[in-house]
Each structure stands twice: as C-alpha cells, then as structure tokens.
C-alpha cells in the first residue's frame, strides 16, 4: 500500500481564498473539526488580488439601495441566465456578511458619518462596493485569515493546541477526491515541499478552488487558476454548468508584453476614468445595446454630470457591464482605432487631480509606475481585454451549496449559477462570503445527519498515487511547459472573446491532440518542490476544463454575456431557458447536455417591468396579467 500520512476531519475545505476561509470559519463555529488545504502559502490565494470592492446593498452611500435593486442589477448583468435563488440569497445576505467582517477587525474606507463607504461600479445602480482603496481583496483575505487565527487562539486556550479543531495545510495540492459508493469519503494529495502524499479522511469536502484562467494566454489570473476544483468535481461525478461563459475583463494591461493581462481595476472607470480610441473619441457611446439604452447617458455632458448628480442623470456608458465594454474595445482595435500596443486609452489623468488619483487608486498608480513606466496621474493607460473570471462551475443547490454528489460542496468562483452569463464587478467578493458561509453550514449539517462515516478504499489511494507519479515514469517525452503554452494559445485564439463554429471545432481537435501528448509527457528531477511536476499534474485539469468550455461554447448558438458567437450574434430567449451541463462519461470523456432552467419565482419576476422582461424571456414565460 502507498506510504502516506493520514488525517481525519469532519469537514475538509479545499481552498484558502475568501470562499474557503469563510466556509471553514462556519464549519468550525458549528463545532466541526475542519481542515483548510491550499496550494500556496496561507494568505496568498487569488482573493488577495481583488481590487475594486465587495458589493452589498447596505445603502450607506445612497439610501435608495436595497436587496431588490441589487438583485435586479445582478440578473441584468447575467442576462437573466443566473440561478435566481442564488442571486436572491446573495443580494439579501451580502450586507450582513460585510458587517460581520468589521467584527473580525476589517477596516473599510469610511463615509463622512463614519459608516462603510461604497463606490460605483459597472452595472450597479447605486454606489455599492465596500472597499479599501484599491486593495479590497487583501483586506478581505487578511481579515478572514486573522479570524481563523483568532479561532485557533480560542482552541489553544481550551486545549493547549492551536490546531485542535482548525488546521491549515498550506502548499499542499489535492489531486483526487475519494468516494465510498456515491458519497464522498475524503481527499488525496501531495505536499508541494516534499512531494510526499497525504490523505484526508472526511465525510464532507468543500471545494473553494477558484477559477480556470490559466488555460488562456492573456489572463489576470495566477498559476493557481488551473481549474482543479472543476476537474476534481467532475471526476467525482458532479456536474458543471455555464462553462461557456468566460468573463474577459475589458481593462487589462497590454504593455510591456511580460505583464500583458494584468488587471486594471474597474474602479478607474467607477471613479471617473474614460475610454478613448486613437482618434481621441469616447467610443463607448456607440456601443450601448438596446437592453440597456434607458439607463445610460447619450452625451458626454450627461455622463459627466452623473458623477455629481446620479439621481437626475444617466450613467456613463464606460460603466456598462464588462462583456459589453470588452466587446467594444475589441471592435475598436479591430477597426484600426487602437493604441500603439493594440489596446485603447483609459484616461483618468485629465479627469481627477493627481493627489486624488494617488489616494483613490494607489496600487494602480504603483503598478503602472513600476511595471510600465507610466504615470497615470499625467498620461493615459493602454488597456485591452483579459481573461478574468469563469462564470461556470459546479452545479449546486443554492441554499446548501451541495453538488449532486453527497458530501461534496462548492462555493466561490468554482461554483456555477450565481452570475449567469456575466458577473458584475464586486459581486464575487460578496459571493465568496455569502456562499462560503452557506457551504460551511451545508457541510456541517450534512455531517450531523450522516448515519455512518463513508470509508476510503485502499485501492483508490494506490490508483491516485500511481496517477500522480505517472509523469516521472516516461522518458524522452515533451516538457509540460511547452504543452501548457500551446494549450493557452489555442484557447486564446480559438475559444476567446469572439467565437466561431469552425474555430471551436478546431479547438476541440487540438484539445484531443493535447490529451495524447499529456499522457506521454516527461518530468525531470525529483519530487521535492518540483514546479515541472506540479504543472504536469495541473495540466490534466486545465485540459478537462478547456474541453468543457469549448464543448459548451460550440453548442450554445446565441450570444449572451461572456459568450459571443460571430455566427449567432444575438441573444435568443429560447436559449435563456437552457443550461448546458458538463459531466464525464464512463471513459472520462466530457459530455455536454441541455437542462431546462427552473422558472423564476413569481414575486421575483414582479420586481421587473414587463417591458424589460420582454427583452429576455419568451412570451409564455411572461407574467400573466
């Protein structure tokens, strides 16, 4: 039998970003012995990079805001494809989750009367994003990290052991989930430092592994975003939905080449920054789609007045949802009106005084100065679309975050449904808190109701170990770095921001070639902290996820949110009713099938004007009046 260390827990949380930490806090507070596992050091998860803020209808900046308005904005942003129950829970619970952070020690920026300040963001009717300058993610993750520490301090007082009930396993990667019959029984992985194997025996596993952006060449995501949770869930028999919807953030850095894709926060536009093409024109006015016409300004004057007087003016079109802005930039560049390095200009220097810029956007100022030699208080930035977020993920029950596999839960970016076809900025951080907590609760309740603890089969452990070591077995094969670069290029070129049938078919063809190349690749060196080996294992997950994205994108014959088809350029209400569900068949091949959406509850439907609903729904779905 495989030699390994073995630990027993009630709940194992895979991921130490916002979702994972909030889930772990909840599970521990419900009295469950909980482990947190993460690939990086504690406190370094992707959440740390979030800049702009965390959306919650607290109504501090504009008292007209409430959960219903937030709900409407979220559904509009996702083009009504969202799981409405998730959007409802999210809008209702986000304020409590943010206030709770203050009790953990968070220090958000303040309004003049001492409450949490809120800023404007694309698609949000009112200023809604709780923030700390442009480093909100850092505040969120550090606060949750420090809350974990405080729970450990409580356990130390009580037992003399900090890690008695809550322990972080950092730089540890899970490669397989264990099952007993249908139900989850644990998780298998390796320590990055030593390469040694580790086994967690646990009846409940919460996936909080984040996204998939590393399958694309130009991305704002870090090396961790290899879709591990998505692939782990599928291999364990769970389903993914909405995988065709990938958010390309409109403003990534385009120059120098080595930083291409790094994010330029939307707060630049929320705080007054405007987009211009090489002719100096504010082109976004040309790109307001019909569904949003009523809410957006038609002239520069009106747009500019909105910053001071939002109640009597309509919003600037720079603040349209991200999919719209990204497509617009793409078209401008294609039409030859791009900047020298193939982007457009984002200018805040002519809009705000220099000291205001450095106060509100300190890390953007720093990032451009250090990485691109650009002083954003004096000159415009060059920006272009970058792969940023995956709307798709594990299909879950909205209230408990449970997948279709008993004992397997998912929250955060790895879960699907909440954001529909397009996520609004700021709605992720709040999503992490709301559904992280619910997943922790769901897992704790599940464990309470179990009759018998599922067992781990030794044969499954041996198989997982053999799979993990396979890349060392072969000699003379390709190096994983080469395959990774080609995979990223293919996804970027063929399943990117604008999609065509032939290209996606070509992509699927290439992906099947990658599959056979990956089976034959070679890793050099030994198991101790070996990044080549780590990448080789991650590549298998990236491949599975890419197959889902390309397969679902090929099937959906319409354009909506983060899925734009050149050959089917419009939104089709018939398609809104359908979800595309990805699952693995017995041979491990990705299968995509259609599933009907559950119709929206009557009282939620009534929150919208019928005229607006007509733009999204089929006639039969409209409320009978």
């Amino acid at each position: 039998m495989t030699e390994l260390e073995r630990h027993s827990y009630d709940v194992v949380v895979i991921g130490a970003g916002g979702a994972g930490l909030r889930a772990a806090i909840e599970a521990r507070e419900q009295g469950k012995k909980t482990a947190i596992i993460c690939k990086s050091l504690f406190g370094k998860a992707h959440t740390v990079m979030a800049e702009g803020g965390c959306a919650a209808a607290m109504g501090n900046a504009n008292s007209n805001d409430n959960w219903q308005v937030h709900y409407r904005d979220t559904m509009r942003g996702g083009k009504f494809l969202n799981n409405w129950r998730m959007a409802e829970l999210h809008a209702q619970e986000a304020p409590d989750r943010v206030w709770e952070l203050e009790t953990y020690g968070a220090l958000f920026d303040r309004t003049p009367d001492g409450r949490i300040s809120q800023r404007n963001f694309g698609g949000h009717t009112y200023p809604r994003l709780a923030h700390v300058g442009d480093r909100t993610g850092l505040e969120l993750i550090r606060t949750l990290q420090q809350k974990i520490v405080s729970l450990q301090q409580e356990d130390f007082e009580a037992t003399g052991d900090y890690e008695a009930n809550l322990k972080v396993y950092a730089e540890c990667t899970i490669t397989e989930l264990m099952k007993d019959g249908d139900a989850i029984s644990g998780a298998f992985g390796y320590w990055r430092e030593s390469g040694r194997f580790i086994l967690f025996d646990a009846p409940a596993v919460v996936l909080a592994t984040g996204g998939v952006g590393k399958s694309f060449k130009v991305t704002s995501n870090s090396w961790e975003y290899t879709g591990d949770g998505h692939a782990l869930a599928m291999r364990a028999g769970a389903t993914l939905i909405n995988m065709e919807f990938i958010q390309f953030h409109p403003t990534g850095m385009v120059w120098p080449p080595s930083v291409k894709g790094i994010l330029v926060t939307e707060s630049v536009r929320g705080d007054g920054g405007v987009l211009k093409n090489s002719e100096g024109k504010r082109f976004m006015f040309e790109y307001v789609p019909d569904v949003f016409r009523a809410q957006y300004a038609e002239t520069e004057d009106e747009a500019d007045r909105w910053y001071k007087d939002p109640d009597n003016n309509r919003r600037p079109p720079e603040l349209l949802p991200r999919d719209e802005v990204a497509r617009a930039i793409n078209s401008e560049v294609k039409a030859g009106r791009g900047t020298p390095h193939g982007g457009v200009f984002l200018d805040v220097s002519s809009r705000l005084p220099a000291e205001e810029i450095t106060r509100r956007l300190p890390s953007m100022h720093h990032q451009f100065k250090e990485l691109a030699d650009v002083d954003i208080t004096a000159e415009p930035m060059e920006v272009g679309p970058t792969c940023h977020y995956v709307m798709g993920g594990v299909e879950v029950d909205p209230d408990t975050a449970s997948s279709v596999v008993p004992g397997l839960f998912a929250a955060g970016e790895v879960a699907g449904g909440m954001h529909g076809s397009n996520r609004l900025g700021g709605n992720s951080l709040s999503d992490l808190l709301v559904f992280g907590r619910r997943a922790g609760m769901g897992a704790a309740t599940y464990v309470d109701q179990l009759q018998e603890r599922p067992k781990i089969d030794d044969a499954d452990v041996d198989a997982a170990a053999a799979d993990a070591l396979a890349p060392f077995e072969l000699e003379g094969g390709e190096n994983p770095y080469t395959i990774h670069q080609e995979l990223q290029q293919s996804m970027n070129d063929l399943v990117g921001i604008i999609r065509k049938e032939e290209e996606m078919e070509q992509a699927l063809g290439r992906l099947s070639e990658f599959r056979s190349r990956i089976a034959k690749m070679t890793v050099e060196g030994h198991r101790q902290f070996n990044p080549g080996w780590h990448l080789a294992l991650d590549l298998r997950n990236m491949l599975t996820v890419s197959e889902c994205v390309a397969g679902a994108a090929l099937m959906r014959q319409e354009s909506r949110g983060g899925h734009t088809r050149d050959d089917f350029p419009t939104m089709d209400p018939e398609w809104r009713k359908k979800l595309l569900v990805c699952a693995l068949d017995a041979d491990g091949v990705v299968n995509v099938t259609e599933e009907q959406q559950i119709p929206m509850r009557e009282d939620l439907l009534e929150l919208f004007e019928v005229d607006e609903l007509k733009k999204y729904l089929t006639d039969e779905e409209l409320p009978a009046k």
Binding site: V149, Q152, N479, Q528, N530
Partner: protein, 250 residues
Amino acid sequence: MSYKGKFRVWRGDSEGGELKDYEVEVNEGEVVLDVIHRLQATQTPDMAVRWNCKAGKCGSCSAEINGMPKLMCMCRMNTFAEDEVVTVTPMRTFPVIRDLVTDVSFNYQKAREVPAFKPPADLKPGEYRMQQVDVERSQEFRKCIECFLCQDTCHVIRDHEENKESFSGPRFLMRVAELDMHPLDAADRQHAAQEQHGLGFCNITKCCTEVCPEHIKITDNALIPMKERVVDRKYDPLVWLGNKIRRRPA
C-alpha cells in the same frame, strides 16, 4: 530589444547548495521573475520558486537580488546593465527548502502569538462607526502583503537565530501597533509589545522600512510610536488611561 542576460542563481536544499551560472534571454519590459520563469521553461524545469500574482500584490516572490531583499516580480531588468550579472538568492533569515524557496513558518507562528482583534462588547455588526482619519493609521499597516522582506532584513534576527524566540520582527510588532491604533479594539496591547514580542530589541535602524515594497513607514509610524507609548505607560499610568478614554468613539 532582447539580449542574453547573465544570471547566477542559488540552487540547492537544506543539505547545501551553490550558485550556478546561466545565460538566458531577456526581453524589453521584463522583470526578474520573468527571467526565472524562462529558465524554468527552457533550462531548469525543476527550479523551485514561489510566486502568485506577478503584480506585487501577494508577497510570495521574495528573494535577495544582488544582495538586496526584493520582490522578483517588481524588480525590472532595465535597472541592470545588459552585461551585469544578476545574482538571485533565497531570503537569508529563513531556512532554505529548495532553490529560492524558504521555510517562512516562523512568521506564521509569530502571527498566531498576537491576540486577535477584540470587538467592542456593546456594538452589534452594522453599528460600527469610525472616522476615516481614525482608521487611516491602521489602514497603512494593513497594506502589508506579508512578503516578510522586513523580517528578512532586520538585523535582530538576520544573523541571530537565538533572538527568534523572543522577537516577533517588524511585521508583527507592526501588527500589534495596528491593533493598538484600531479605533474600536478593546484589548490592551502595549504591555504585550514589550514583554512578549520583543519591542525592546528594535533599535530603530529603519532597515525594515527601506525594503518594504508597500512603502509602509514601519519604523516611524508603527515602531517608534509604540515605543513612546510603552515608555509613557511605564512611567505614568495616567497617560495610558487617558489614551484609552480619548480613543472611545463618540
């Protein structure tokens, strides 16, 4: 625009190691981390290095570049001459695991020894009221990305393993200061700073401040004020009492 750069990188593990020379392509606009990645992809696939964000936000990629503690992702290649040898070594204060990766668990232990924020008993979630000017001092310290470069630099522990037990280092003394200056924290911090975290070891050389990639004024804004408060308090308990009374919100 691109040239062959000369790199010298420490390769080895806890048993020992050596500096190895490499010639590697360098392109316009690149940072040291880009070049290390190119080495991995083309010559040394097993070279160990930590990184995440590649944008100076996560504090993972700390190392010593030509002897200076720095983030590899924020150190631009155009700060070196083309024929200059760029030497990259792991942080010296922490034990090496492999190549550029060190064991930073010391920092997580120290973090755990600082008692957490103590919420005020009389306020419910949503009722917290604080003025921007009052939160700004602690906010400066909360910009910390935990790169541990200040810890690496501080001479109290850099070559003095024996001090690690009783000294938490600038990062965690600053954490104590942050909580002490939090407008609503209900715990007493100053006693602990001196007794448990070794504030007395710090002789305000400011080396930590110089290497901080977030430009936090660790010494001036956190350590010195803490020292002043501790001194005040030692000689005059009324000063401390007065402080606490004034710091309650209206």
